[in-house]
């Protein structure tokens, strides 16, 4: 291909060349960072909790008044929930995955360990917890009803039996013999690992140890309770409507908050990842509009160049250039400009990523994204220039003889 004459021609159109290259460079910088953010956020949104989330309903309940003991109220409510037609299982807890609020502590393997233990989220529950969550027990056994103990406010829960996630046993007992071992959630109070679940995540979406969870057979003496309910397939809607009626039927002195009182797990999930989803949407829209504007800009400037060079094109045609020669001239010209643009763009993209890394604690751009961005923009440039180039190739050799 005749690259030298193209470069010579471009030197005579410095401003236009620089503008297109600059636009491609900036677009690349923004688009690959934005796509990377989209990817990161979508990854987060799709993170599994380890639960079988379909057919699960979460209830937030606050008892009104201050009786000395809330435990009987809680037990009555759980019984009432379990007896709703269509309900498979139900239990009361302090928290669950994606709730964005809950308890955490450090697990020690010695009774008086002083070092930071292995961080874990704490979930209260009973013998129906595993079934309701839909998590897989890979070793040991479930709790039985008799093991459930009551914990008072301001007291650290440390029951004799606990079930932990695989992530925790792997960390505490790398030899794989964690089942049956004793751990300490509170100074001097031993708990035995009676079961291990494959995976279950913490309540928070930003936590360094997502899979570190301890489930304990505990009922908490508090006016603030959450209930998780698993329904039989196809009965979620009916149960969803029945829950408030049932609970108010049992006891009117309670509050189920308007917005977050009764939620399906879909609602819990979408609320937890609201900001991530929003960011992904915003960045996708920005990418789309940006690519469209850049393409339109290339079409506009290329058309102008073609218009400006009609006579020149006519002369070339008169001198024997084929249509395909003219077409490939403009395509190559655009490719060279775009190439210069993406080289600059890669530098800008990495720079922008570095800047966002230091300012907003974001992850560094992965190289795949730069590569994808480069390919997308080179392709976009070629696609955008095609129509004007085709028009150029249709210029008649007669143009050579026209005076203006």
């Amino acid at each position: 291909m005749q690259i030298k004459p193209i470069l010579a021609a471009l030197r005579r159109h410095k401003a236009g060349t620089i503008l297109i290259a600059l636009q491609i460079a900036l677009t690349l910088a923004i688009v690959c960072n934005a796509l990377f953010i989209v990817h990161e956020r979508v990854d987060r949104v799709n993170r599994p909790t380890g639960m079988d989330e379909s057919n699960v309903i979460a209830v937030q309940n606050r008892y009104v008044g201050s009786p000395p003991n809330f435990v009987p109220l809680v037990k009555t409510d759980v019984q009432a929930l379990r007896s709703i037609p269509g309900v498979e299982s139900a239990y009361a807890t302090n928290s669950y995955p994606l709730r964005q609020g809950g308890w955490s502590t450090g697990i020690q393997t010695k009774p008086d360990g002083t070092k930071d233990g292995v961080p874990t989220a704490l979930y209260f529950g009973d013998e129906q917890t595993l079934k309701t969550l839909g998590v897989r027990l890979i070793a040991g056994r479930n709790f039985n009803a008799g093991e459930v103990v009551t914990v008072q406010p301001q007291q650290t829960p440390s029951p004799p039996q606990v079930i932990v996630t695989k992530a925790i046993v792997d960390k505490l007992f790398p030899n794989g013999d964690g089942l049956g071992k004793t751990i300490y959630l509170s100074k001097g109070k031993p708990s035995t690992i009676i079961g291990v679940v494959e995976k279950l995540t913490v309540p928070w979406t930003d936590f360094d140890h997502l899979d570190n969870v301890t489930i304990m057979p505990v009922i908490f003496n508090s006016g603030y309770q959450h209930f998780l309910v698993r329904t039989r397939p196809g009965e979620q809607d009916a149960v969803f409507k029945a829950i408030p009626k049932t609970l108010y039927g049992v006891n009117r002195m309670r509050v189920l908050p308007e917005k977050y009182g009764v939620r399906t797990y879909d609602m819990v999930r979408s609320r937890a990842y609201e900001a991530d989803r929003g960011m992904a949407i915003l960045m996708s829209v920005v990418c789309g509009v940006l690519l469209a504007i850049t393409a339109a800009g290339i079409v506009g400037l290329s058309s102008f160049w073609v218009g400006q060079r009609r006579k020149q094109i006519g002369v070339r045609r008169a001198l024997g250039a084929r249509r395909s020669d003219i077409l490939s001239y403009f395509m190559t010209e655009n490719f060279l400009i775009a190439l210069a643009g993406v080289v600059l763009g890669v530098v800008l993209a990495v720079g922008l990523s570095q800047w966002m890394f230091t300012h907003f604690e974001m992850k560094r751009l992965s190289f795949t994204y730069v590569l994808v961005g480069v390919v997308v923009l080179l392709g976009l440039g070629q696609a955008a220039v095609f129509a004007p180039a085709l028009r150029a190739s249709k210029v008649s050799p007669v143009e050579a003889t026209r005076s203006v």
């Binding site: 401003a15 236009g16 503008l19 297109i20 600059l22 636009q23 900036l26 677009t27 910088a29 923004i30 960072n33 934005a34 953010i37 606050r62 008892y63 009104v64 008044g65 201050s66 008072q152 406010p153 301001q154 007291q155 650290t156 509170s186 603030y224 108010y248 009117r252 002195m253 309670r254 509050v255 908050p257 609201e274 900001a275 929003g278 960011m279 949407i281 915003l282 960045m283 920005v286 509009v289 940006l290 504007i293 850049t294 339109a296 800009g297 506009g300 400037l301 058309s303 102008f304 160049w305 218009g307 400006q308 922008l352 966002m356 300012h359 907003f360 604690e361 974001m362 005076s403 203006v404």
Partner: protein, 435 residues
């Protein structure tokens, strides 16, 4: 001449409707994206209490020790021991401890369901210190604090709900089965960011509808509805909890002068030194006394999403401008013959500048109007992108409308500088030579 140039500009824009539409859209989209994200950024980065933000200070005392904190920054909240000790010392013009509680408001009408309301337990200084606007009555008195009185201040919404908006000062409100006497009704007041309760709300929250005395809340053993962090596990019972190293309280002070601030900071440092001497702190005094804006900054109240999207959309605007520069250049240079003729007929460079900048300005106005419409849509759609407590703060007010138009026109005129300069360089002799 202005109207002549305007007329010429409009005529020229009509000549190339596609190119014009492209430029108007580039400006419109670029400006709308920037303005929409700016509206969110502005909402999150603003001063919640501009008239007093420089005299209101949050106090931090490190009760956790260097191994339990990050980068030497003291924890964002105080222990009961430290907060009450500093309050008792009366070293500030006004001072109040604040912590969130959740209460059930039980209506007198048994047919109506009780409702859960956000509440703050605080001191009598809270109301004058933060300029809380009262519509009935006033705050409770320091004596009420002393007497651990069952008094409350409620918001207009709560008053509407409980008393149908009637005069309610002196009436009782039933919170969790206990009666509190209402001393005043305030507007639905929740400055955003909610500076006095950042650690528990992240800065954006609807605020509370009930306020009760801190002393009374402690008596009732109302635990915090926010975060509670302990380095060491407290012994059982409320009394032990109060004496523990658990942090859950905020302490705000009003310090009108620089001297007051220095004296107060000195006092807090001295207090921490005393704790060190007494053996409670095994580390040197590590305290912070920060005003509202410093505090919001350190607590990173502006969500990174808001900043990243502002940066990205400013980049977007720059690209739209580069795009417009290219298109204007094409458009103007295509008219080089016309420029040559005008120059030959006596147009000075200034005339050419004026003509083409005004043409670009009309694109800016059109882009601005499109941008305004899109910004309006964008602000409505902010809820799809940002969490509700932040999204509801983004509004299209007159300032934003004006800013959108100004940015659009300024952007297109800036974009037009280079192409116009090139146009003005066209030699008047060009016409004779080109043939």
């Amino acid at each position: 001449m202005f109207s002549y140039y305007l007329q010429l500009g409009l005529r020229s824009l009509r000549r190339n409707p596609m190119l014009t539409a492209l430029m108007v859209m580039a400006i419109g989209f670029g400006v709308a994206a920037s303005m929409t994200t700016y509206s969110v950024f502005r909402a999150t980065a603003r001063d919640p209490i501009p008239q007093k933000s420089s005299v209101l200070f949050n106090t931090q005392v490190d009760a956790f020790g260097p191994e339990n904190i990050e980068k030497g920054e003291p924890p964002p909240a105080l222990t009961y021991k430290d907060a009450t000790a500093l309050l008792r010392a009366h070293k500030a013009k006004r001072q109040a401890i604040i912590y969130p509680v959740s209460v059930s408001v039980i209506p007198d009408d048994p047919a109506r369901l009780p409702s859960r309301e956000g509440a703050y337990a605080t001191g009598s200084d809270f109301f004058p210190m933060f300029d809380v606007p009262f519509i009935q009555g006033g705050g409770w008195t320091p004596e009420d604090d002393e007497k651990h009185a069952s008094v409350a201040v409620i918001t207009k919404s709560a008053n509407d709900k409980l008393f149908n908006g009637a005069q309610s000062v002196g009436k009782q409100v039933n919170l969790d089965g206990r009666l509190f006497r209402i001393t005043g009704v305030i507007q639905d007041w929740a400055p955003q960011p909610l500076f006095f309760d950042v650690p528990n709300t992240g800065g954006f929250d609807e605020g509370a509808s009930v306020y009760i005395p801190f002393t009374r809340a402690v008596d009732l053993q109302l635990s915090t509805n926010g975060n509670n962090n302990c380095v060491a596990e407290p012994a059982e019972g409320w009394a032990n909890y109060l004496q523990s190293e658990c942090i859950w309280l905020s302490l705000w002070s009003e310090l009108p002068t620089k001297a007051d601030v220095d004296a107060y900071r000195g006092y807090v440092t001295g207090y921490a030194a005393e704790q060190q001497r007494a053996g409670r702190f095994r580390w040197a005094p590590n305290v912070r006394v920060r005003d509202v804006m410093d505090w919001l900054d350190v607590q990173r109240v502006v969500p990174p999403e808001s900043q990243v999207s502002l940066v990205v959309s400013l980049g977007f605007l720059v690209i739209c401008l580069v795009n417009t520069v290219g298109l204007l250049l094409a458009k103007f240079m295509r008219r080089a013959p016309e420029i040559g003729v005008r120059r030959a007929l006596g147009a000075s460079r200034k005339d050419i500048y004026a003509q083409f900048l005004i043409e670009a300005g009309t694109i800016g106005v059109a882009g601005g109007i499109l941008g305004l419409l899109l910004t309006g849509l964008g602000v409505l759609g902010v809820g799809l992108v940002f969490p509700e407590p932040i999204a509801r703060l983004a509004t299209l007010d007159p300032v934003l409308i004006l800013l959108t138009l100004v940015v659009a026109i300024a952007a297109s005129v800036v974009a037009a500088f280079y192409p116009t300069w090139r146009a003005a360089q066209v030699q008047p002799a060009w016409q004779l030579k080109s043939n």
